[in-house]
Symmetry: C2
DNA sequence: GTTAAAGTGGAGGCATGCCTCCACCATAGT
DNA sequence: ACTATGGTGGAGGCATGCCTCCACTTTAAC
């Protein structure tokens, strides 16, 4: 665990290299975007051929950039984790409780791979482990700060919190605003008793 | 369908008929048990051939009993819902808050189809609708009673509650006792402010 | 403009799952 | 015990997904 200085932006997690040639870079981006969509829709085992189709490229191009399904999924996931780490840094100045809840709501938003995150939380690969670590390094201090300020109950780990939020996030809510309402209620349970 | 007893037990939801001949009935039960296992492990799209193999019967036998995957899944799901409805009746005598939380914990236990319940909650088929209705008829009064007793916040519907619990349930918790801890925290948010 | 290197994409082989069909088998009623 | 009826189970046709391979196309460096 590195001691995090005030502005110590964590190193970005990189799974595969973005190609340098113009057309290839375009395809790479299109693939990532299509994969993000597909994973959000069908979970971690969305069809790769469908992803290539959505991106408007051949299946061969997909495999050239992402040798396995895992590479592709990890890339999408890493993008989200990297963004979340940045957000945590930006929130360092806010008061403890709003900082924590704001971050968690961003977590819910960014996690487009909602249905798939369950799998990611238990993935054993190096990348998943690195992502978990990065995520926990970013969010952990926010929880700790809120606990030290007496805003959050002590008998809860960051892992508990992440899994609670992930679970609620991974379920579909048909009603507009319902997910938000439920999240708020659950977060009420997270607040310290007074 | 004969009305079962005098004690207003809700009508059981039946998806397909259990065969009468001895060997066939045995196979039917084996299939249901195997399906329950497989769905719990792999979610709603477990392999039907795998299920038949686990049950020690041919794939043909599976299809004879359950014409489609949906019939099979609905049967497993309906079994659980029927059991839960019975539990709710038994809890009518308990005090409001313990009755509600006990029922919810049973809900978590019975829901062996954990990973798959997301899908069931949004299924559009007649059976899924009937199951939802039955579930809500069983659990809804427990929530209402707790709210009337001032134990639970008013700004929460039974649907909110079920989805919250389902979400947390559908996530894997690697640590022993962690799911229970998280559920308890979330339920703290459900309690009325005082 | 030319050209070498990088990139493309889809045909095709393989695996797996779905579901049907039907020759054989077990049960229950006589 | 016998037999008709209901039940069995797996072979096989179809669909879909995975991934490899390579003849062709595009880029960018000169």
């Amino acid at each position: 665990m590195a001691e995090s200085t005030a502005t110590a932006a964590a190193a970005e997690i990189v799974v595969v290299q973005r190609p340098r040639r113009a057309d290839a870079a375009r395809n790479f981006d299109a693939l990532l975007a299509a994969a993000r969509e597909a994973f959000a829709e069908h979970g971690a085992d969305a069809s790769l051929e469908d992803i290539a189709r959505r991106a408007g490229v051949g299946i061969g191009t997909l495999y050239r950039n992402f040798p396995t399904r895992r590479h592709l999924f990890e890339s999408v996931y890493a993008e989200e984790v990297n963004a979340l780490a940045k957000v945590a840094v930006d929130l360092a100045a806010e008061p403890p409780w709003p900082a924590l809840t704001t971050w968690l709501r961003r977590f819910v938003e960014y996690t487009v791979t909602k249905k798939a995150i369950r799998d990611a939380l238990n993935g054993e690969s190096d990348i998943f482990l690195a992502c978990r670590e990065s995520l926990y390094e970013a969010g952990g201090p926010l929880l700790l700060r809120a606990q030290q300020a007496g805003e959050v109950r002590e008998d809860m780990s960051f892992d508990d919190l992440v899994r609670m939020i992930s679970g609620i996030t991974s379920i579909a809510f048909p009603e507009e605003g319902q997910r938000d309402r439920v999240l708020t209620i659950a977060l009420d349970g997270v607040r310290a008793r007074r």
